[in-house]
Amino acid sequence: MGRLVLAEGDVFSPPGVKDFFLPPIFGDVTKPMVLLVLSVIIVSAFFLITSRNLKIVPGRWQFAAESVYDFGRNNIARDQIGSKEFKPFVPLILSLFTFILVNNLFGVIPIFQFPTMARISFPLALAILVVYPVYHFVGIKKFGLGGYLKNQLFPPGVPTPVYVLLTPIELFLKFFMDPITLAIRVFAAMFAGHLILLVFTLGGEFLLLHAAAPLKPVSLVAWAFAIAMTFLEAFIQILQAYIFALLTASFIGRALAEDH
């Protein structure tokens, strides 16, 4: 009985994890992979084209590119790493920021409509293969392995017996949890946001097509909420890209700090 009703499509089946596993486009290539490559092309084309013909008085596009660069350089890298050592990391921070920003914004741009970072493997690869080695490497390069570990695991200004508790916590946080939370943060925000959009859009569609006649107009409310949520989602997507870059810079700054 229950099965029959389901088969007729009269029961609303809420969107879930299954909606994120899209069928492959060709071979083993799926939509997120295509979007990822596309984002690399978009970011590099944007910066290559806008910086090709630089003028002292910037044009419209040069101004846009300079604003993005300025934001990544001054507001993220310099604030977090410190004005002495931030220069070599500006390209990394800026490309992480723009790359994640474009990938996230794919979630609200029509046609694309899928945030690449809603699949855990992409942010996880960024966090574990890019950010994690970089900040440990620069720290070890500056202080040597022993000095770096002493800096990170034994923060000064603490009574000696407390280290028994503090050092394992610091070890767990800095060498294990940091890259994982970095990845989960952007993943879960994109995943949840996309799911909310799906719920409101599909719910509205279901109300319109399958609900009793007096309830059909309610679908308009659902779609109005979907539009409002799209704006909120766009804001969150920009915020998450900013936070990823900010935390990367903050980890690098922490690894390079003299007495922390």
Binding site: G2, D79, Q80, I184, R185, A188, L246
Partner: protein
């Protein structure tokens, strides 16, 4: 006969999804309070000293993400628990 079958089906119905949703709702309380406290402090600080706003904002975002991730981990755990 059919009522017996229905009763059996009801007894074996998977409650995990509902329980996981309740768990996530409870788990989101803490981060909600935490995020509220952070922004309350920022608003207070900005009201007292408007020129310090940019400095406060960067501190606020770095602490905000530390709290926010707890709710987001809860969301991931919800999906793991509800499908188990």
């Amino acid at each position: 006969m059919s009522s017996v079958l229905l009763a059996q089906e009801a007894a074996t119905t998977n409650l995990n999804a509902g329980l996981a949703a309740i768990g996530y709702g409870l788990g989101a309380i803490g981060p909600g309070i935490g995020v509220g406290l952070i922004w309350a402090a920022v608003i207070n600080g900005t009201a007292r000293q408007p020129e310090a706003q940019s400095k406060l904002m960067s501190i606020a975002w770095t602490t905000f993400v530390l709290v926010e991730v707890l709710a987001l981990i809860g969301l991931v755990v919800y999906f793991i628990a509800s499908t188990a």
